[in-house]
């Protein structure tokens, strides 16, 4: 991937001062969402979106660049097949259902 070091004109301290509170709030939103999932009724297993979210969370803390592009790639359809028609298909869900092998 493209080397993007030192492309932001701000210092680390300036970025932190400008954006920390906004992203602290967003992180708490994600935490609350996961807590909400834990508090749900019934015994549904985690679906593919929840699995994808946990996989994406690992990318956030891996210390490597291009986290956004890599998370978007993780959430992308990588198949080559083209269905003939969209008849009966659902709208986009934001993540890709697991294959049988991945579910096992």
């Amino acid at each position: 991937m493209k080397d993007v070091t030192q492309t932001c004109p701000l210092t680390r301290g300036e970025v932190m001062a400008m954006y920390f509170l906004e992203h602290r709030a967003r992180l708490l939103d994600v935490a609350a969402f996961l807590d909400r999932l834990d508090r749900t009724c019934g015994d549904d297993a985690a679906d593919f979106r929840e699995v994808a979210l946990h996989q994406a969370a690992k990318i956030l803390t891996d210390g490597q660049p291009h986290r956004t592009a890599r998370i978007l790639a993780l959430l992308s359809d990588c198949t080559a097949e083209l269905p003939q028609s969209a008849e009966g298909m659902k709208g986009a869900l934001g993540a890709v259902p697991l294959t049988e092998g991945e579910q096992a």
């Binding site: 492309t7 956004t68 359809d77 003939q84 008849e87």
Partner: protein, 268 residues
């Protein structure tokens, strides 16, 4: 600061939005034909829509000193029925004569189906035959990367110069490949589901300001017709130069769109 919003669906917005956009510095908009939130039941519905885009909407914009241009097509979501789509496409050549029409758009894919692909290819042929520029819609969410590659492959199989094609709704995982293949790239700024002004500023920092623009795509969903001036503000807040901000919100759209002799924008 003046700006152009090169992709916004004003038919879905109120007249107040034109006023607010004008106050924020908007000088011109370009409006691609799109899905209305429901499937039209006949080609006649598109005929009326094309009249709205070419006759009515320019007058509404002009009340606030905004110039209105448009792009015509059948959108990918309604292109999954090839026979229906061909009926609609047959209406388009007559409207290409209208003075505010800049090209064919927003064509592309929605669910990456063969039917959508067939109609995409036929609309690329239409653009080629009539020497039109092309504005491209790329699929949302998990379908975007695959769809963007399929669309670029189809476009590169034609004889249209990639410099006359803008691939819209790029995100971090598609922008590099779009630019590397010689196309222009558009970032759609949305409050929730697409790219934020902050992320758009990040992309400009990482990929540079050549062949890149930003738009609001303001439509009938949750969207913000002032997203472009908000992105200008975000770039300014980070200390970027006025020259860079003007380039991505004024100079670049003007450079791309001026490839149509119809796009003459007054800077007053």
């Amino acid at each position: 600061m003046k700006y152009i919003d090169p992709h916004i669906h004003m038919v879905s917005r109120t007249t107040d939005d034109y006023q607010r956009m004008a106050l924020a510095g908007c000088v011109a908009v370009t409006e691609p034909a799109f899905w209305a939130g429901f499937d039209r039941s006949s080609a006649q519905g598109f005929f009326d829509y094309y009249r709205q885009l070419t006759e009515y909407e320019p007058k509404r914009a002009a009340q606030f000193g905004i110039q209105h241009f448009t792009w015509l097509c059948i959108n990918p979501k309604e292109a999954d029925d090839p026979a229906f789509a061909r009926d609609v496409i047959s209406l388009i050549p007559e409207f290409l004569k209208c003075e505010n029409v800049l090209g064919i758009g927003e064509i592309g894919l929605n669910k990456n189906t063969r039917n959508e692909q067939i109609i995409l290819e036929e609309q690329i042929e239409l653009a080629e035959k009539h020497h039109q520029m092309v504005l491209v819609h790329t699929p949302h969410l998990e379908d975007k990367r695959k769809g963007t590659r399929l669309i670029m492959d189809a476009l590169q199989a034609s004889n249209i110069d990639p410099g006359r094609i803008l691939i819209d709704h790029v995100e971090e995982h598609t922008v590099g490949e779009v630019l590397d293949r010689g196309f222009w790239a558009g970032m759609t700024l949305y409050p929730d589901t697409k790219m934020t002004p902050q992320r758009a500023a990040d992309v400009i920092e990482m990929y540079g300001s050549e062949r890149l623009w930003m738009n609001s795509a303001g439509d009938w969903g949750c969207s913000d017709p002032l997203a472009v001036p908000k992105a200008q503000q975000e770039l300014r807040r980070r200390g970027h130069t006025t020259e860079l901000i003007e380039k991505v919100t004024w100079g670049n759209p003007q450079e791309f769109l001026s490839q149509s002799e119809r796009f003459q924008v007054s800077e007053k």
